[in-house]
Amino acid sequence: MATDFSKLVSLDPDEVVTHSLVRDVTLPSGKVLALVTLDNGRDHTRPNTLGPNTLLELKGVLEGLRDRAAKKEIAAVGITGKPYILAAGADLSKVDQMADRETGVLMAKLGHATLGMLSELGVPSFCFINGLALGGGTEIALNATYRTVDSSIPALALPEVFLGLIPGWGGAWLLPNLIGIENALEVIISNPLKNNRTLKGSQVLELGIADAMFGPATFLEDSLRWADGVLGGKIKVKRKNEPGKLERAVKWDVAIGIAEKTLKSRIGEVAKSPYRALALLKAAKNTDKATGFAAEDDALADLIAGDQFRASIYAFNLVQKRAKKPAGAPDKALARPVNKVGVIGAGLMATQFALLFLRRLQVPVVITDLDQERVDKGVAGIRSEVDELLANGRIDSDEAGKLRGLISGTTDKADFADCDWVIEAVFEEVGVKQQVFAEVEQHIAEDAILATNTSSLSVDEIGSKLKHPERLVGFHFFNPVAVMPLIEVVNAKKTGDIALSTAMVTAEKLRKNAVITTDSPGFVVNRLLAKLLGEAMHAVEQGTPFETVVEAQKPFGFPMDPFVLLELVGLTVGAHVLDTHHTTFPERFFESKALHELADYGHILEKDGKGKVTGYDKKALEIVAKHRPADATPLSADELRIRIEDGLADEIHRMLEDGVVAAAEDIDLCMILGAGWPFQMGGATPYLDRVGASQRAFGDTFHHPPIRGVE
């Protein structure tokens, strides 16, 4: 019974403790409810978190209330948070320093021992979800007897699976038994994998997580009155989604089966946490609470001790913290105010830029092209996008009117005269880009900034004909522009600090994450993808079956295999990227003649009527076979995997030696945000360290100590 948690507590002597404050509240009926307020004494920018000391304090408080309940001093216990926050979950700041699996077990057990008390007080408990509730915060609510939710909460979620964990303080067992298996699968597994989707107050009510919802102005007053009604029997709580016998007998296993199939096809089988969560949800069908909680202890301890969780936390911190303070960014005060934007080009990419600048910067945007017809088409396209935003309710009619008024088109580059920022999206050829910038430079102010979206050309070369090359900066977006969060900001040799700072500040205003790179081939994302795709194409040209190539890269857990990726970016673009890298680094990067011919042919994959991939196109296979050299040697899956791993490790090592980016962290950030490489890999380098590729490639690791588990 009495577990010793001291090992856990000693992990963080500086824990920001969320205190459990208690006040008695006399309800209208005269009954007394002891109200626990979770409050770490900081403002809302430092949410309540649940570390070991926090849990021990709450446990002690709840034990005291259990005694008071036994003495009939209180009729109920309530628990709520400081303004805007219930709790943002377990304090994970020191979890990556746990030395062994046993400490992880302690963390799981302490959570269960504490939160579990909410159902063992001898009187009913009520959680008033007054604000943000994530992970352990949500599990506080789930462990209570009843729940109310504020209609204005910013988010409630169980994001554990997103971080490589499972809801292990009761969530995995309690939730399906409260809201049914399908809803629980959505909250625990689907939502975290959909870019960490969260729930609003109305969804919390609708799913049956909360029993009642009240508005924010009098949330606590109304919740207390409601609790009084429940205690007095005047309010009967009905839970429409609570699983019945039929659901357990029939629906449960079917839903688990479907979820498993969907998971496998969506993310493969590398990531462990979704499958552990799935197993727990499956077992929750007919196990009792104690068994369910014990299974959570096991799963949580295993995952905390594992490689994937450590890499996920590393990745999470990159995305949450490093991305917001980009390495090497000059003083923001140097940035030029951007009060008018010029876009050279009126094609698809250019109009995507124009729309993004328009929406985020809310300044005049002028687009230009060679003839009036293209310009008119571009402007009309942007205006219709604005109409669509209006129709979808994303913006109101006043804003739509404003945006329509801010966009204009011209064929006369003199109209760029008062632009502070001009970005080009013209054909990917140095001469063309040099020419359009030279033309624009005649008209714009001395200090206006020029940006190029080149993905493969040298920024310095593009700027070599400029009178003021220091004003040119690379600004490389990823497709689709509106969705992809990364911009590679290229700090070319001639790029000045003012241009660089303006680019960084502008990227932030566009709500993108910018990483600064040098003016080097492919920058970061395309260089590493070129490595990967080059190896894949080389392998098939060498007679390795496509299936073996796909098999070889499975252990990474990439979001898609190389051939699906090639079709997504376009085979022509893919072939071009391989060529560029091969030209610069012929000894390390493969070009692919086969890919050029495949590009002419049109596709690699064979798809059914609905666009589902059914295999490889027969003609495509023939084309590849045609390019097989006489001395071809097919690779086994393992051989190819090691080639890819070592190749990536070597390339990243070189990039860091050359200072392409400031640190390995920036490489990982780029791969996560620009290529969707998974959290469980930590982007790239934690994975390469833990599989031994770094050692093999350059006799060391990227991280010291390497980011890995203690299993």
Partner: protein
């Protein structure tokens, strides 16, 4: 043409009152949140009222800055969930703020411009101590228009003792002790609580719920009162025991034309008969309710003898006693503040007027023998305000008040 209408008091509620200052229950609660919670409570109690039928919202505060600034009537209306089509404004007549909100809205209803209005007031004296940020015109002093003493309410109360030597400290203390006892009895009998809207409050020990007035001292004795310091004058007569305490709180009422109330099925607790405001020398502001009441009676065609129930704001005991003496009413007349008053409950300046009305309305419901009631109060800088109400539950011939 707008058509003149009868004005009725449909309902009134208030927050429990809190002691002003760091130890008070509302120290960590915003003033605007107090009035918003009171308004939500009022709207919830009157579900028959379509919110978009509210024609205007008048909310008073004396110190209109910070969380009591920004045109309280408008901001509170938005925060309380009234439709954006409902306008609002702020009122200031110091202690008679809420009373003036009521008479101003009533004027618009009576004229026929409005059907429905919300009127109330709030004062967070902890966050906004009396006179904060005031910058009195130097002419007041240079031309001897207003003595600096007139800006200190305690000193004006001492001056009433000087002017009316028959108003002794002993009389003031006794009146105050009885006020405490009457409030305690009213609480025990459950007279006060029905019109209170509980307020969730933050404190160093977490969230709590304010459900009753915080300043009450039912244990008050004459001996205890005799020993208190006289902070406004050495060997003076005014003490913390025979004055209203510094208080935080909000009150709000729903007013309607008689026709609109009938049409919407709203209850009618009181009918407005007349009102009056009057000015007196600022140095003796406490006597302000005497001329304002005389004005209101005259307009109503009534005499003081027609009034069957009095709700007089107890800013200071001496100031209420000056009123009673003037009209020849006994200190312990049972018609006067039967459930006690501001000395025990507290006096959050611009909020108090509607508390008087809410309490009078509750007495009307119990007293079909009473036809007319008076709510009256003194106001800083030498003013008084009075409103005369008729009891819709009055049954002719049932007793006092029948003309």
């Amino acid at each position: 043409m707008a058509e003149a209408a009868d004005v009725v008091f449909v309902d009134g509620v208030r927050t429990p009152f809190g002691r002003a200052g760091e130890k008070g229950q509302y120290w960590d609660t915003r003033a605007d949140d107090l009035i918003v919670k009171a308004m939500i409570g009022l709207l919830e109690r009157n579900p028959n009222l379509p919110k978009d039928r509210v024609d205007d919202v008048a909310i008073a505060a004396t110190t209109q800055t910070g969380d009591q600034g920004l045109t309280l009537g408008r901001t509170a209306a938005i925060l309380a969930g009234l439709p954006l089509s409902v306008p609002g404004y702020a009122i200031d007549r110091m202690c008679a703020g809420a009373m003036t909100s009521v008479t101003t809205i009533a004027g618009a209803i009576a004229f026929g411009a409005y059907d429905i209005g919300i009127a109330g007031g709030v004062e967070h004296m902890g966050r906004h101590p009396m006179g904060t940020g005031a910058d009195p015109n130097p002419r007041f002093l240079a031309e001897k228009l207003v003595s600096p003493d007139a800006l200190n309410m305690g000193i004006t109360a001492e001056r009433l003792h000087d002017r009316f030597p028959e108003l002794t400290k002993e009389r003031s203390d006794r009146f105050s002790m009885l006020s405490q006892q009457k409030v305690a009895a009213a609480y025990a009998a459950g007279k006060i609580q029905p019109d209170l809207v509980p307020v969730a409050i933050r404190s160093a020990s977490g969230w709590g719920l304010a459900t009753q007035d915080e300043g009450m001292r039912p244990e008050t004795t004459m001996d205890g009162l005799a020993d208190l310091k006289t902070p406004f004058r050495p060997h003076g007569r005014v003490t913390a025991g025979n004055a209203s305490p510094l208080t935080d709180g909000a009150t709000v009422s729903l007013l309607a034309s008689a026709d609109a109330a009938k049409q919407l099925g709203l209850g009618v607790k009181m009918r407005m008969v007349s009102f009056g405001f009057a000015g007196v020398e600022p140095e003796v502001m406490g006597i302000g309710p005497i001329p304002s009441t005389e004005k209101a009676l005259k307009r109503a065609g009534l005499t003081i003898g027609d009034i069957g129930a009095f709700e007089l704001n107890e800013a200071f005991a001496v100031q209420v006693l000056s009123f009673l003496d003037h009209f020849g009413i006994d200190d312990e007349d049972p018609r006067v503040n039967p459930w006690g008053g501001a000395i025990a409950i507290g006096h959050p300046l611009a909020a108090s007027g509607v508390r008087l009305m809410t309490q009078l309305a509750a007495q009307f419901a119990e007293r079909p023998d009473v036809r007319y009631g008076l709510t009256a109060m003194c106001v800083g800088l030498g003013q008084g305000g009075s409103v005369i109400w008729e009891n819709p539950a009055w049954t002719p011939g049932s007793g006092k008040g029948a003309k």
